[in-house]
Symmetry: D2
Subunit: 336 residues, 4 copies
């Protein structure tokens, strides 16, 4: 059985493991104040061409979203997301646990558009309702789509106009960075208040790299990390991994590799006449398959069941990763 | 410079790293539902001689304390701890963040005694005050002391009598398990409602193993883990590590090694006429040193500053770990 | 100017004020443990023909909703409501502040139907999402509609089937109780787990009467009240007021009077050719008026602006109360 | 039986009730935006000789403390209080429910001194601990003592130096305002960041008047009130009551009357040879009585049991209020 269910099914990219092995016996101070974290931060700041950002490393995506959102909002403030947003559906109410409402509008191809934001602002005029203060989007989205630079700019301008922070969840950012017209890391730092560079789904054992651009969001951030149980004693582990991921463009290479693997699957499905539920150019694809095809796939492969399209058709999801080989993708299509 | 400041200054014990390397490319399902976690759970249940416990793996100590305590308590319930308890001092209010008061009494040699519990119960009779519902203790304590089996039994009986859960923080459990008259793992499962077997400070890269004995505390626990941002996508990492730690008694061996290293330091300080702030038999020692000695130590070694005893004397802390060598301990004493 | 904007624009019904004046100098114990609260509880239990319910008096609706919902749910559990539900829109995220997500579906005439509940249950199968545990409905609804006994039974059965609590917000319950085929108070206690009998909008100075039927929801409820800042030192004030409201069916009389006043307005609007945005038989009406009419109304009356229907038409809301006179309603229609 | 247990055992001062009766049928807008609230605010600002303060009316003390403290603190920040502080003991963990730790030191005659604050600051240097940000004191204290102007100034200066807000709980402020060398209302507004003028225990049916002096604490405060379930629909009730309390110095008169009643009791106890547990000059007294005396008192009077002094002696509390007559105090002493 080969598993296409997600991009976190193996350990870490070999270069990440090698870095962990090489540094294993070296003593460092704890809690992320070590030289590896510092070096990784410096490296990423250089890539962003921005010395003024604050960088923090965290263990996972839900944790990063919860801490970033709760630290940015006052008690009565809310975050805006599309209904399919990860924070709205797949985080067991982590944001609400910290006290904040998520205001949603139905997604458009997995994405937010400025009109949704404006409408939510109109709907929340006074103290009898929550006060929207942050917009949360994902790059790539839950449906494998992505924001172009122009789209990101439009959302950021809308946020600026409405006095809202823009936060970008980059759990699968590597897959987006190499897509046509997508914002680069430098551009993301220009058109958002905070974003994170995902590690867990991009070849790390675990770990996300949070980049805070807006000064208002920087104050005492380590207190938030510690309080929410997210400050690793051996914080160095995150520094070591992100150093490896940003050595010689490994991060972008992984993104490119994932997308190329997905391209094989995408093209294969289409060539054989299957439709996609949504046109996604990244490392997640959403083919619609009939019952017979599904059964055939299930013999040798694991995929994610999304939902029934009708009695005879099902939307499934396949995800490629740094560990996916092009051979297995070709073999999958062959067997289809 | 050699660093005695804590037991989390290196990566992982070589056998743990080896296990991570060996399993790196194997695909597993995510979120801790893989075969490695299952195997580790089975192994630990066998050691506990108890099939009915629920076992969950988490990334760090503050996280484990926060999730366990908040999941056990209703809104208006409180947890009892000694004033020096880790949850009361060094977790940035994580327990309070989840809504719960910590009720404290001054520690006795770092420990709780039943009389403290009874007194707190008397002080909280009605709905105008919080309702105590859990007792939190650490094995070993913040001061390197530990509870004997008899002491643990006495506290557990006091908890039973007062309808309180007993939760044992075992961040440094390995060091306690090999001490005279200390409860074994099986005995801990008999005389507590829940405890955790620490990994981070015992040779893992990161990770704690929570053992829930009382059925009332088991319900939907994975919801709590996920909601608090603590469910690792690659949950396997924790299973793999705890498998390694409990292979051929490695966990106890690490505890034994730590204590033996500490014994060298302990004996050395005493032989040279230094007093201890507190008599601790485990891997943490608290010598009182004069200013001159402190300066000498600081040239080649890092230790933890605890507090001033008087104008001329300071209490410091030294901690040994799986990575400490007996040679460095001997060298330290020699140089003293 | 006469104000039809809501039913909380005056003080209290004269019989309520009289009761407060009469008891003003009598000493009682505090915090709702006095004889007036006891008498009011006994009286309401007799009306419910149920000695086993727990009754608590609280100061306001948002407070009652927040405390009841948060006390019923575990951290990871959610409450289901229609999108127009008061807790979802007009309580500034009070439920989310206590840590819980509100799961919504678009309302049907302001109401919930069992199919919505079933769908939400299907959408929330595991620990990666919140766990629905309670359904919240209002009698009457935000749109002045109400649940018949049959409709309530259907929702309650759906809740039972799905292991959900049913909570009914009765801020304007008096207006519903006197409507055709509406459940009586006794029937509400049979087909819900908890509901509240509104006082603030029904002639009290302030106050709501919470009736807990399900034993699971009763434990230590006074701790929740106190912790959320809702336990009045002079708790007697609530007992005194509810005694007055349930003396000689005053509560039902107020409901009847409100509805009759609203009938005058309803009939008047329709007779003059105005459409209603929604057909509501209770003390809230939602006429659609053209710009010219709106301006005329605004000269002598205050109403609530709801939303624009189109460029020329606006939906407004008029609410009648114990203090509304039939004369002013007739005069309003005359001037229309 | 006459009850000396507290100052909330009757309804409201006759002038307060009269004001409520007189305004009962007048229509006003809801939620505290009416003319009565405005007038009361203007009146109090005039007394404070400060137009720049923000004034909000709330229903009760625990509610006021919870909302004020939680609105002022960020997630990881803590409030400092003496161990006997109302928020620390008698509010069922309301502050902790909102996520914040209370840091305490043992009280001195019920009071805080600057040294306690400085010590707590030294104990909390970094992000592994909570960050102290507010000091909470009560005027008068739980033990009936009070801060002189000089003492208040010293605490305020210590707060300023340590970048802490100072919040004064004035549940029984009237009793303090008329004591020798106590700060006036104007002086309280000069030497604190926020305080509240208690109504519930000073002759109102219910209600506290929060005065926010520091601009940093003013932002969007009505959102906090609403979200915590504390915004009364008929907010006018609070405005009407505080108008009455501040008409012709009624508030100070009540304080004076209370203290004079307490003086009779105080002098009586002392004349008959009883000791006080603590020397309190306000409307709360804490005599130590032997078993026989206690039994005699208990025949005709209710007092509050505080704690056992020894086998033969008990500390009790007597409280006087606007409703206490000097006659009953004299009669009590006579019967002693």
């Amino acid at each position: 059985m080969y598993n296409f269910a997600s991009d976190y099914l193996e350990g870490a990219h070999p270069q990440v493991m090698e870095a962990l092995n090489k540094t294993n016996f070296i003593q460092t101070v704890g809690y992320g104040e070590d030289q590896y974290c510092q070096k990784a931060k410096d490296k990423i700041k250089a890539i962003l061409e921005n010395e003024n950002v604050d960088i923090h490393f965290l263990a996972g995506g839900t944790q990063t979203n919860m801490i970033m959102i709760s630290s940015a909002l006052k008690d009565y403030q809310a975050v805006i997301a599309v209904d399919s947003g990860h924070i709205n559906v797949h985080e067991t109410g982590a944001v609400e646990f910290t006290g904040h409402k998520i205001l949603t509008k139905p997604h458009q191809d997995g994405k937010m558009i400025p009109e949704m934001i404006d409408e939510i602002m109109r709907e929340h005029p006074d103290e009898h309702m929550v006060q929207p203060k942050m917009v949360y989007i994902s790059q790539t989205t839950e449906y494998g789509t992505y924001y172009t630079l122009e789209e990101l700019k439009a959302i950021y301008e809308c946020c600026q106009k409405n006095n809202l922070y823009l936060f970008i969840d980059g759990a699968r950012l590597g897959s987006a960075l190499v897509l046509k017209d997508a914002p680069t890391l430098q551009e993301m730092a220009l058109y958002s208040d905070v974003f994170y560079i995902g590690g867990t789904k991009m070849g790390a054992l675990f770990g996300e790299c949070l980049v805070i651009i807006n000064d208002e969001l920087k104050t005492d951030f380590r207190y938030h990390i510690k309080q929410k149980g997210a400050m690793l004693a051996k914080g160095r582990l995150l520094g070591v991994q992100f150093n490896a991921l940003f050595e010689n463009d490994l991060y972008l290479e992984i993104g490119k590799h994932e997308n190329e693997c997905a391209d094989i699957l995408r093209k294969g499905f289409k060539d054989k006449g299957y439709k996609m539920y949504i046109e996604s150019p990244s490392n997640q694809i959403f083919p619609i398959v009939d019952q017979q095809t599904l059964e055939k796939i299930n013999k040798n492969y694991i995929t994610t069941y999304m939902f029934k399209i009708d009695d005879q058709h099902t939307c499934i999801r396949l995800v490629t990763s740094w560990a996916t080989s092009k051979e297995i993708c070709e073999q999958f299509i062959e067997e289809l």
